[in-house]
């Protein structure tokens, strides 16, 4: 007879997901002496084995194409060299998309989740980001102000380590920064172009250590943070939070555990997590005094929606009906151009930290008569990067065959400067996820169905990005701007920037929100959500720093409530 294995022990806190939110929760709770059991759907991480840092392309037979030439056939989901991170298409774990809509859902199945490879851009949300209704009448106010959140940003920055400088720009609040990193040559050109166009170009704010803190080594400037950093100079929740928590003896990790449902008792409190043990394909249950869900915005919504009971017929903590709603992602658009001034530049090592050393914070906050609300920041690419498959195909295509190929490649190497706009999406009624009742994944868990619509706000912002990037490229004497530009065709697909947020939103009114200001479910006192699902908006500042700050705050509050006996 089939039997579900239910552990007799009641664990203090079960955390579901080990990315930025789960990692922070684990760190904070174990530091406070609370026993934590962490469920991760993927395997354990071994940085020495899993990270391909410092490997040259020729050190593998396929040089990075993938062992079966995947990159040559568009079948490589993510670069070969990157840290194990997850995929757009996870085998056996499909999702549905409403007819006519487009959405891409990135899932990570590894200890540390997406923090092993992410861009590590670490920007505070601003005062108006927490009160957008007050600011311009659009979106939803958070039940938290910037002033309330600021001390948690301090803690987050001081712990993970963020580079930066004090600039006094309202859209980009200053924080507790490590020393900034000097710009590369192409970035100096962008700084001068910005000066000419009245656009601020300031040192980037990145979670890489320009000096050693908390026993983590300082950066050695190999620029390969995306491959995972063996010495954890680039932040990841796995290395900086979870491995140290293991040392306390307060943490138990259960890998290969795909959460299926949260079970409730007669009083409507969560009393156990049901999960599929992937190795044996059996259902197991783990009893808990409190549960923190940090499975990523959409997975967390899916888990709650799949947790139906007599008491919660619409899914757990979903009396308001907002779970899955108001799904947002960042607005993305990129443009690059070739800058002749950089041709044949004297060669040098400009690896630095992985990603940009300077960036452009939103600079038109006070401008009247814009045709879109809020704004975007700009990330800058370029430099003398490590050659990869494809790096010089463009040069070769213009050079026929013979020695002219090498000449073209030498001349063009490092001349491309690119700009990536990362803008705010206003939450809307037509972008959401729900359970697709006609389909389950290989574990038998009902899958999500996505609905996605950009509004004119976002489309018009992309036009502004294109015009700005063209001006910047031209100011540097560059060329390459696309003359026939269609913003509708050029805007990123929903989910593509991998900043999903908003699906289990917080608020003061239980009729309009699922969580209170501490990310604790209004209807279920011992349930906390600690990823980007609680966000009431998705400002033009990447989500991770705010996930860490908000999860830290939520975890301390949970610990406090447990101590008081309220949970």
């Amino acid at each position: 007879m089939f039997q579900v294995q239910r552990s007799p022990a009641v664990h203090d806190v079960v955390v579901i997901g080990s990315g930025a939110g789960g990692g922070t929760t684990v760190k904070v709770l174990t530091d406070l002496g609370i026993n934590v059991t962490l469920l991760e759907a993927g395997p354990m991480l071994d940085p020495q084995k899993d990270f391909k840092e410092h490997v040259w392309p020729w050190q593998v037979d396929h040089r990075g194409s993938g062992p079966n030439a995947e990159s040559y056939f568009g079948k490589q989901q993510w670069g070969y060299w990157n840290a194990p991170n997850g995929y757009w298409d996870v085998p056996g774990e499909p999702y549905s998309i409403a007819p006519g809509d487009e959405f891409k859902w990135f899932r990570s199945r590894i200890l540390g989740g997406r923090t092993n490879h992410y861009g590590r851009i670490s920007l505070r949300f601003s005062d108006y980001d927490f009160k957008p209704q007050e600011f311009d009448g659009l979106g939803f106010d958070w039940p938290v102000t910037y002033e309330e959140m600021s001390p948690w940003y301090d803690k987050a920055e001081e712990f993970i380590g963020v580079t930066g400088t004090h600039e006094g720009i309202r859209s980009a609040p200053d924080g507790r920064f490590l020393p900034p990193i000097a710009p590369r040559v192409h970035e100096m050109l962008v700084q001068r172009a910005g000066k000419k166009l009245n656009i601020p170009v300031i040192p980037s704010r990145m979670a890489m250590l320009t000096k050693s803190i908390h026993g983590r080594a300082a950066c050695h400037y190999c620029g390969q943070c995306g491959r995972g950093c063996r010495v954890a100079a680039a932040f990841s929740s796995s290395q900086a939070m979870i491995f140290p928590a293991l040392k306390t003896g307060k943490l138990t990790i259960v890998n290969g555990a795909m959460a299926r449902e949260l079970l409730v008792d007669d009083e409507g409190l969560v009393n156990a997590v049901s999960y599929i043990d992937k190795a044996t394909r059996t259902e197991k249950q783990i009893r808990a005094r409190a549960v923190v869900v940090a499975a990523s915005a959409c997975e967390s919504a899916r888990l709650l929606l799949n947790s139906k009971s007599t008491k919660f017929p619409n899914g757990l903590a979903n009396g308001s009906g907002v779970v899955g709603r108001y799904l947002t992602d960042t607005v993305g658009y990129s443009l690059g151009g070739s800058v002749p001034a950089l041709e044949n530049m004297p060669r040098h090592n400009c690896d630095g930290i992985g990603g940009m050393h300077v960036y452009i914070p939103w600079w038109e906050l006070d401008k009247k008569n814009k045709d879109f609300p809020r704004g975007y920041h700009v990330e800058i690419g370029g430099g003398l990067g490590m050659p990869q498959l494809g790096s010089f195909r463009g040069a070769a295509a213009t050079a026929g065959y013979g020695s002219s190929i090498k000449e073209a490649a030498r001349r063009q190497y490092g001349t491309n400067v690119s700009f990536a706009g990362r803008g705010e999406m206003i939450p809307n009624e037509n972008s959401y996820c729900e359970i697709d009742n006609t389909k389950v994944d290989r574990w038998g868990i009902p899958v999500l169905k996505f609905h996605w619509k950009w509004q004119q706000y976002e489309i018009k912002m992309v036009q502004h990005m294109h015009d700005t990037f063209t001006s910047l490229i031209e100011a540097m004497g560059g060329r390459g701007a696309n003359r026939t530009f269609d913003p509708v065709a050029s805007i990123s697909k929903g989910g593509e920037i991998i900043h999903e947020a908003g699906t289990v939103r917080m608020g003061d009114d239980p009729k309009k929100s699922a969580l209170n200001k501490w990310s604790q479910a209004h209807e279920v006192a011992n349930l906390v959500v600690a990823d980007a699902a609680p966000f009431n908006g998705n400002p033009d500042k990447n989500v991770t720093l705010t996930i860490v700050a908000n999860a830290w705050r939520a975890a301390e509050h949970l610990a406090d409530e447990m101590k008081k006996g309220n949970v």
């Binding site: 410092h54 040259w56 020729w58 050190q59 030439a69 990193i181 026993g215 900086a240 690896d351």
Partner: protein, 211 residues
């Protein structure tokens, strides 16, 4: 940067063998040693040549086809005053390996090389490898001409594009290519990071902003 020595090498093994495998955070000192250790495969820039030589046993192609591919690669990217030809980048070996792993790719190269030999036999009475140098370059002139390929070789067009792309890819992902292009990274840089003034001056002088 110091060259790695036996001490750092030993430390690296210690770190790899114990600390990290037991999933713990390493200390700053251990990390410093690991930094030194990790520089080992980087200095010098790998083997001088990736050419498998005359005794290389192809994984996918027969011996003659492999020789044809290696020769074609050297015509696409020949040696010049600065750097050697594509065969030193192991271009044919790279394509051979991937053809042994991917049927679509194998079909492209098998078909393309067969077409090329047929074309040459029909035109000159000998296969590509046995043809005169001028006959060989004549077909490449047609394939890679400024107008993007002559109709006469259109049937081989897709193959020529694949061949150039993969030869160029192989070249710049090899030690000779990395050296030729002048990539100087993938190493350990002591803080603080900075770029040389010479490069800054060179670019600013050439830019609209002036020095």
């Amino acid at each position: 940067m110091n060259e790695p020595n036996d001490v750092s090498r030993r430390d690296l093994f210690r770190i790899v063998g114990t600390t990290l495998l037991s999933a713990e955070l390493i200390t700053a000192q251990d990390a410093k040693d690991a930094h030194a250790g990790m520089s080992m495969p980087m200095s010098p820039n790998g083997p001088k040549s990736l050419n498998g030589g005359p005794n290389y046993i192809p994984k996918h192609f027969n011996a003659n086809r492999f020789k044809t591919l290696r020769h074609l690669g050297d015509l696409i990217m020949p040696a010049d005053a600065t750097s050697p030809a594509a065969s030193e980048a192991g271009a044919a070996e790279f394509i051979d390996f991937l053809c042994s792993r991917n049927e679509d790719l194998a079909n492209t190269f098998d078909g393309g090389l067969a077409w090329l030999d047929e074309y040459m036999i029909h035109k000159h009475g000998t296969d590509f490898l046995s043809s005169k140098p001028a006959e060989q370059t004549a077909v490449l002139d047609l394939a890679y001409g400024s107008r993007g390929g002559s109709p006469e070789v259109a049937a081989g067009g897709q193959f020529f594009t694949w061949a150039r792309n993969m030869v160029v890819d192989a070249y710049y992902t090899s030690p000779v290519g990395v050296k030729d292009i002048g990539f100087m990274g993938n190493t350990i840089v002591p803080a603080p990071f900075g770029v040389p003034q010479e490069a800054v001056d060179y670019v600013l002088k050439r830019s609209p902003f002036g020095a």
